[in-house]
């Protein structure tokens, strides 16, 4: 028992960080699931993080209020940004979002009144495991509900084939706008989560490293179901600790290789509802000895807009 307690004491912070990263991954998933590759999550996280830090360190508000405020701040930022970003197509949007991450860093460094500038900000309180878990459960519940809603159906349609979705009356712009809004709110919460777990945030907290790691963990976990990003975030948070104890000298190489192997063998990520259904179908076929040959699955694309097939028709 004592051993378990020790274990929990040692790794509870890993669990908390994994939960915090889950928000960031879910925020990336929110837009990814609507066919958008965007790193603006990091921008929303920065806004949420410094917002929360100010609310806690400056105004002395409780953590839960600060997290709520951070979510709202992220939401507001995303609602303002989305109309601009939605004018761009995929890679241009991806680049624009990267540029925005870099701009954010410059702004953070040069707005010491809001962010502490180069000195960063100390956050005097630390969030409890339970509180973080409750927040994650709430957000996961929202994603669960959305998955089984009109919005969920529409996002999947828009992601798979936006022009077909449009002929069903689904407005790609509207769906992607909502996706951005969700991404903003959840990203803001994630940023606040980072602030109350790291207890110190600066321009470097919300930068490219986080952007690349989190997009990788989102896709690794699986970007076709809301549970995937959470799994991915937990694995990517635990992986360095695990690698540290197994292969300390080449831990980063090992991390890259794990990612590579998963991408080669499970390109749609660990949690993949389609693969599960396909396996089920295969099993049934075997028992039924069905003669229908399955079609080659159409390739999944994250490109919105008109497809080449249309354009060349």
């Amino acid at each position: 028992m004592e051993m378990l307690l020790d274990f929990w004491a040692a790794y509870s912070s890993t669990v908390v960080f994994a939960m915090v990263n889950s928000f960031i991954a879910l925020s990336m998933y929110a837009v990814l699931s609507a066919g958008i590759l965007s790193f603006t999550t990091i921008v929303f996280a920065a806004i949420g993080g410094f917002m929360a830090a100010q609310m806690i360190a400056g105004a002395g508000l409780p953590i839960s209020v600060a997290i709520m405020g951070a979510g709202l701040a992220g939401l507001a930022a995303s609602v303002l940004l989305a109309p601009l970003f939605l004018r761009l197509e995929t890679h241009w949007m991806a680049l624009a979002s990267l540029a925005l991450v870099l701009i954010t860093r410059v702004v953070v460094l040069n707005a010491p009144a809001l962010t502490g500038g180069v000195n960063g900000m100390l956050v005097p309180v630390r969030v409890g495991v339970m509180e973080m878990a409750i927040w994650l459960a709430l957000v996961a519940l929202v994603f669960y509900r959305l998955h089984h809603s009109w919005y969920g159906l529409a996002t999947r349609a828009v992601r798979e084939d936006p022009s077909v979705a449009a002929t069903m009356g689904i407005s790609t712009w509207r769906i992607q706008f909502i996706a951005f809004a969700i991404s903003g709110a959840v990203g803001g919460i994630g940023g606040a989560g980072m602030a109350v777990t790291l207890q110190f945030i600066s321009a470097d907290t919300y930068f490219l490293g986080a952007a690349f790691t989190m997009i990788a963990s989102t896709v690794l976990g699986g970007s076709f179901h809301w549970f995937g990003p959470i799994v991915g975030a937990f694995i990517f948070t635990a992986l360095p600790t695990l690698m540290q104890s197994i292969v300390p000298s080449i831990q980063d190489v090992a991390k890259g290789v794990v990612l590579l192997v998963i991408m080669i063998y499970l390109p749609r990520g660990l949690v993949d509802p389609r693969a599960r259904k396909l396996r089920k179908a295969a099993r049934e076929r075997q028992t039924l000895r069905d003669h229908h040959a399955p079609l080659e699955p159409s390739h999944d694309t994250i490109l919105p807009g008109k497809t080449s097939k249309e354009a060349k028709a």
Partner: protein
């Protein structure tokens, strides 16, 4: 006036590195549809190989440039065959390739860190062209002249290769539609290998020259080039070498001029705000006309 000219040359030389780096990045995107974040690692590795060649094998600098360039190309081929080839069969899409490239970025960068003992290295003074050339009142470091010349030669060469030769036509055909290209008698596999090699080699060239000019050969070398090279490619239009060159040079000049004449604190801010503005106004790049989306 002298200041203006000197800074202009600084900007053009810096931009030439971005352009040189961006050419290969754009080529891979246009032909193979991969947003390759590991492209920067090729540059780091090429610089490291060049360093080994000069400091350990004592070869002259031009030879080291060749070794680095070819090395970059070979690493690119390995990465392509190990990481991206398996995805092609199953049409993993752009996202799968992106994440795979991040995996390679992690692996190659940390191996480069180990190879350099996590230090930043530099060619010793005298082991590379570190003198100055006088152009009237302006004195320009030799490396800057070499970089600009290399960019012009490689840029024009690549443009002609892509637009005027059979290999180039084949590359464009594969970029348009791999299946159709195979039917039309183009060996897609060969074209993919050539493309990967050329991309790695140009990145490698940028790496060796940049590493020498900035006295910084480390695993972080490619990181800075990656963002700026990506920006150059996007502004220039994905499938146009001319666009990449012009955009890369403009980016370098903008950076230097913003910090000279506006504010060095806000340099990156101003540069990226300009970039964003450009994107929103002209989302298809300088020479881009139609929508560029792969078949």
């Amino acid at each position: 006036m002298q200041l203006f000219l000197e800074q202009l040359i600084n900007g053009v030389s810096l931009g030439s590195l971005y352009a040189l780096f961006g050419i290969g990045f754009g080529l891979v995107f246009a032909t193979l549809g991969i947003l390759n974040t590991a492209h920067g690692a090729y540059a780091s590795w090429a610089a490291i190989l060049g360093y080994y060649a000069v400091e350990w094998l004592q070869v002259p600098f031009p030879m080291a440039v060749v070794i680095g360039t070819v090395g970059g190309g070979l690493i690119a081929i390995i990465v392509d065959q190990v990481g991206f080839q398996p995805l092609r069969g199953r049409k993993g899409g752009m996202l799968g390739a992106l994440i795979t490239s991040i995996a390679f970025l992690i692996v190659l960068d940390s191996l480069a860190g180990t190879a350099t003992g996590h230090q930043s290295w530099a060619f010793r003074p005298g082991h590379y062209p570190d003198g100055l050339i006088d152009f009237g009142p302006i004195r320009v470091p030799q490396m800057q002249v070499i970089i600009i010349a290399a960019m012009l030669i490689v840029g024009i060469g690549m443009h002609l290769l892509v637009q005027r030769t059979r290999i180039g036509a084949a590359m464009r055909a594969v970029g348009w539609n791999e299946e159709a290209a195979s039917l039309g008698g183009v060996n897609a596999r060969v074209v993919i290998l050539i493309t990967a090699f050329l991309a790695g080699a140009t990145s490698g060239l940028a790496g060796v020259l940049g590493g020498a000019a900035t006295a910084n050969i480390s695993y972080q070398l490619g990181e800075g080039l990656l963002l700026k090279g990506f920006a150059a490619v996007v502004v220039g239009g994905f499938n146009d070498v001319r666009g990449t060159i012009i955009a890369g040079v403009l980016l370098g000049v903008t950076e230097v001029f913003v910090s000279q004449y506006l504010s060095s604190t806000y340099r990156d801010g101003v540069t990226y705000v300009l970039l964003l503005g450009f994107l929103f106004l002209r989302p298809r790049g300088l020479f881009g006309s139609g929508s560029f989306i792969r078949a």
